[in-house]
């Protein structure tokens, strides 16, 4: 008994020692950073005219570092595939939503869809963009799922899957087309940059929103109507 306790305290002290070592290392790294770094922001402001977005964050996410965002879409899809491979969606409970939740969802869901559209559109020149818009859309989906709404069997098969991969698909398709016309992956020609970014972002918003709502559902939705 005492031996177990000793082992535990020893382990705890070891953990404390390792964590302090890590803290010292991190502190040293932070303190040894040069105070004035040029960074890449000048580079971004210089090239923002050709990027197709006036908001520097959107310009970086969708143009200069579009590759990262493409991979992020892939990660989100993989997360959903992981959840789907674990189990099918739990059976719907019979409990009906209270009057407040019912009424609130009727008011909020259209509003959330509108806000998602606004965030998507405004992302070109102010804070906003596909991820935020997708998250708001996902929240609308979560609200609908909480109220007890489920996608019909007609939509939970191929249409749902197409919507889920649409964001990544649009990204990859644009990248491939650009390679075919002789540019590099995701190197948008400046005259079309704004339109291409909007296209990718619109597809990505839908995909992100549906993916997040599907994650909340917590499993593969039933595809065939039960007989």
């Amino acid at each position: 008994m005492t031996r177990v306790v000793e082992k535990q305290t020893l382990f705890r002290w070891l953990l404390v020692a390792l964590l302090s070592l890590l803290a010292v290392g991190l502190g040293y790294a932070v303190l040894s950073l040069p105070t004035q770094t040029p960074g890449l922001s000048d580079f971004v402001t210089e090239n923002i005219e050709t990027s197709g977005a006036r908001n520097p964050v959107t310009a970086v996410l969708l143009n200069f570092r579009g590759y990262d965002t493409l991979l992020e879409m892939g990660v989100l899809l993989l997360a959903l595939l992981g959840v789907w491979s674990l189990s099918s969606a739990p059976e719907q409970s019979e409990a009906s939503p209270g009057p407040v939740l019912d009424m609130l969802s009727r008011l909020l869901v259209p509003l959330l869809i509108l806000v998602a559209g606004y965030l998507l559109w405004v992302g070109a020149r102010a804070p906003g963009g596909a991820f935020q818009a997708g998250a708001v859309l996902g929240a609308a989906g979560v609200l609908l799922l909480l109220v007890g709404w489920r996608p019909g069997a007609r939509f939970s098969g191929l249409p749902l899957r197409i919507t889920l991969v649409m964001g990544l698909g649009a990204f990859v398709a644009v990248g491939l087309v650009l390679i075919l016309v002789g540019r590099r992956l995701l190197e948008y020609p400046p005259p079309f940059a704004a339109a291409l970014i909007l296209l990718i972002e619109a597809a990505a918003t839908l995909s992100i929103g549906i993916t997040l709502a599907a994650l909340f559902l917590g499993g593969r939705p039933e595809e065939r109507p039960q007989r």
Binding site: P90, L119, G128, A135, V136, G138, A139, L212, F216, G218
Partner: protein, 104 residues
């Protein structure tokens, strides 16, 4: 002007301390439901911190994904965990009573 900066730094200090405290409480709380609620509160305050750091994009993402959707996902996971535990407990009780019956 000076009063405003003083107020701002005081606000920042309170925000930082509150974040650390919420993070610690969320990790240390034995009650999972309470941990999740604390985590959501942490996410909302974190969004405020991002606003104070002049990063409204990240603040939006943090509020929507970090606080809202992650919180909803965690709560859903907790509900499923608890319902699973309950059925397990029920099964266990059934088995025990069966053994008991046989014993009698």
């Amino acid at each position: 002007m000076e009063a405003v900066t003083l107020l701002q730094s005081a606000f920042d200090a309170v925000l930082g301390l509150a974040l650390l405290w919420l993070a610690w409480r969320a990790l240390a709380s034995p009650d999972l439901f309470r941990s999740i609620v604390l985590f959501i509160a942490f996410g909302l305050l974190m969004a405020l911190a991002w606003v104070r750091l002049d990063a409204p994009d990240i603040a939006l993402a943090e509020a929507a994904i970090g606080a809202g959707l992650t919180g909803a996902l965690l709560l859903a996971a907790l509900a499923r965990l608890e319902s699973k535990n309950e059925t397990k407990k029920l099964h266990k009780k059934d088995n025990e009573s069966e053994v008991h019956d046989q014993g009698c």
